[in-house]
Amino acid sequence: MARVLVGVKRVIDYAVKIRVKPDKTGVVTDGVKHSMNPFDEIAVEEAVRLKEKKLASEIIAITCGPAQSQEALRTALAMGVDKGIHVEVSGPEYETLQPIHVSKILAKIAQNEKIDLIILGKQAIDDDSNQTAQMTSGFLDWSLATFASKIEKGEKDVTVTRDIDGGHEVVTLKLPAIVSADLRLNEPRYATLPNIMKAKKKPIQKLSPKDLGVDTTPRIKIISVEDPPTRQAGQIVPDVDTLIAKLKEKGHC
């Protein structure tokens, strides 16, 4: 049975309307509703299902971030994860924490905890990097399957169906391996009250990047964050002929 590691990130809830800070250095996060990154939730759900099928022995969830990040860990624990690891990074250090740092942290913990399978969300919906699974695979030199829509775990390998443009690709990886979860992998469960209560008693281990020997000096500088261009207002035309004339005028037909 495999030991599984999942990564969870606390991000702005995807149902919230995003506001860019006036100085364009990032987005407004104060007083904004946060939740677990939806792709991470899918990763957690998949790990829990593996455990329910007796294909996983223990699931560890890890998060990197300030104190509030523990909310995401609690949610993961309530869904069925066994143990949480909180790598505390706060203030300006968290603002410049990048996929390369997270990947190094994940790699280190995977080695320390003797992990066989890492399942990560394909990307976090706040920075859209889509790099962590890939870089972790690089640091560990483990096989990688991105954008999984199906995971079937065997004795010494794992078969992953990947969502690719216009179809699927099925690959088999030798364990230990890393898989990144896509939207269609599963539909995450709701944590039930008894499990939410049990989760409060589950252990959360606190670590710092230093404990793991990871240097968090930023490698990338964010120059500016901007709103997408606003759509121009439409125009109502009286009839089809005018419509065609207008389209021709603008070179659309």
């Binding site: 995807y14 995003i18 706040d126 709701y190 039930t192 009250l193 008894p194 939410i196 964050v225």
Partner: protein, 509 residues
């Protein structure tokens, strides 16, 4: 950020249809039209003028041809209610944009004895918003301007045809929210909400519209505009006339503008969905919730197992829990999430420990809360897929809240029904009770009515808690109102609308 938008779309796709369904179902009328109301319920047409070309020309001169609809196909959706219970055959739909236009229309109709059916979002459930015969439909759909929102006082002033959800979205920019929320919010108009005194899901916390409407502008049947558009919280000068137009279903006047007192949008919202064994346990949970969640409790709803099936079977929604005889939704609104969560969790832990709640889930994630609310808000829509629905909306003393369901199941044991079930606003003592059958049947109707009203009346309940009287219930109003009060209502009607042109055949017997 971009993914944030894409994922929002994808998730919405995955949980397809949503509320748009309601709007869709209002448009797709080709199949299964209900029988004409005048035939099904054998009503006699009042002595009103039959619309002539000259009348139509007057409307066209007033509004322009695009705002006078006479094409039968386009008229159809205005003639049928969305649960397909009733159908009229109006050939003229008017879409004014201003109070002045409404005033001119009514003055003309009053002089020519043309009957008028006011219509908002047409989401009513008692046939109050569609014509019975050929009444001219006055739709408020183009009266959709929001005039002002005051951040400090929380007062919003708008036209009556604003869609509730649009109002709510506009208020959100100011840190406020609409004082009412209901399943039909994506379609219903605030003027219709006011005219029917709509209740909704959070009446328990924010009170009803008699409290939150500060002022109204109303047009009387003769076209006179009555300015009651106060924006003051306190105003004890003379009779409080606005209340006459709240809940009188467009029979005394047409609401054209509304001033609403809006509460701040809560910073912390939590929702619990619970599974319970019996109605006794529900009562216990309600009592404890009121005591322990106290000032943060914003909604307390109940759904029975058979009702939840219309969501899971008919609409293919997923329930987060396995099967239980009863379910409850408990929501909190507050300003500090840590405080609220602690309170809610303590309450739920105790309830589980004492075993009056069997299972449950709790969340404050926006989309998860929405999915859970869908299980409650989309029941009406899910029910329509059963076939024909006999819908009742009664207030009962809280101890007897659910008793009507087993009583009705017993009475209809030998009838051909699909489902007999109840759900509703537990915290307000208001149960929505319904019987669905594959199709409408007079025999079944006679078994249900007036029994359901007698049952309610015997317990001193209300035969219409929040849906109103509309077309379907005038002859039963006496089960809830004394003859003295009905007499005064009739006198008021004659005073405001001497020729009875406003929403005839509705409300009063």
């Amino acid at each position: 950020m971009l993914t944030q938008m894409i994922i929002r779309k994808l998730f919405n796709l995955r949980n397809a249809n949503k509320r748009n369904n309601l709007k869709l179902s209002q448009r797709c009328f080709s199949s299964h039209l209900p029988e004409l109301t005048k035939n099904r319920y054998s009503v006699k047409r009042g002595n009103y003028a039959v619309l002539t070309e000259d009348h139509k020309q007057f409307f066209i001169d007033l509004l322009g041809s695009t705002r006078v609809i006479t094409n039968p196909d386009e008229c159809l959706s205005y003639n049928v209610d969305w649960i397909k219970n009733v159908r009229g055959y109006s050939t003229c739909i008017l879409k004014p944009k201003t109070t002045e236009e409404v005033s001119n229309i009514l003055a003309f109709c009053n002089d020519n004895r043309i009957a008028v059916c006011p219509q908002g979002g047409n989401t009513g459930l008692v046939g109050g918003s569609v014509p019975v015969f050929d009444e001219v439909v006055l739709s408020t759909s183009l009266m959709n301007k929001i005039y002002s929102i005051n951040d400090t006082s929380g007062v919003l002033v708008c036209q009556s045809g604003c869609i509730l959800e649009n109002i709510d979205n506009a208020l959100e920019e100011h840190g406020l929210m609409a004082p009412l929320d209901l399943g039909a919010k994506g379609s219903c108009h605030i003027g219709g909400n006011v005219s029917t005194n709509a209740g909704g899901l959070r009446l328990l916390r924010y009170g009803n519209l008699h409290g939150s409407v500060l002022g109204l502008e109303v047009v009387k049947a003769d076209g006179e505009v009555i300015d009651l558009l106060s924006t003051l919280k306190k105003d004890n000068t003379g009779f409080h006339l606005k209340h006459l137009f709240i809940g009188s279903e467009g029979t005394l006047g047409i609401v054209t503008k509304v001033a609403l007192q809006c509460p701040p949008k809560p910073r912390a919202v939590n929702l619990a969905f619970l599974g319970l064994q019996s109605f006794e346990h529900i009562l216990r949970t309600l009592k404890r919730a009121k005591q322990e969640l106290a000032e943060i409790l914003s909604s307390c709803e109940m759904i029975d197992a058979s009702t939840l099936d219309v969501c899971t079977d008919n609409l293919k929604l997923k329930s987060p829990l396995s099967q239980y005889p009863f379910y409850m939704l408990i929501e909190t609104h507050g300003s500090n999430n840590e405080h609220d969560q602690e309170k809610l969790n303590k309450f739920l832990e105790d309830a589980i420990a004492e075993e009056y709640i069997l299972d449950g889930t709790t969340t404050n994630e926006i989309n998860k809360m929405k999915h859970i609310w869908d299980l409650r808000e989309r029941i009406t829509e899910g029910y329509t897929k059963d076939g024909y629905v006999f819908k009742y909306d009664v207030s009962l003393p809280i101890e007897k809240f659910y008793s009507i369901v087993p009583a009705m199941r017993e009475k209809l044991a030998n009838e051909d029904t699909v489902r007999i079930s109840g759900y509703g606003h537990l915290g307000d003592g208001n149960i929505h009770f319904q019987v669905s059958a594959r199709e409408f049947s007079q025999q079944l109707l006679k078994k249900i009515e007036p029994y359901v009203y007698e049952y309610t009346s015997d317990l001193r309940g209300s035969i219409s808690a929040e849906h109103g009287i509309g077309f379907r219930k005038p002859k039963y109003i006496h089960y809830s109102k004394s003859s003295g009060s009905i007499k005064i209502m009739k006198q008021l009607k004659t005073m405001f609308d001497p020729y009875g042109i406003l929403n005839p055949y509705k409300v009063l017997p």
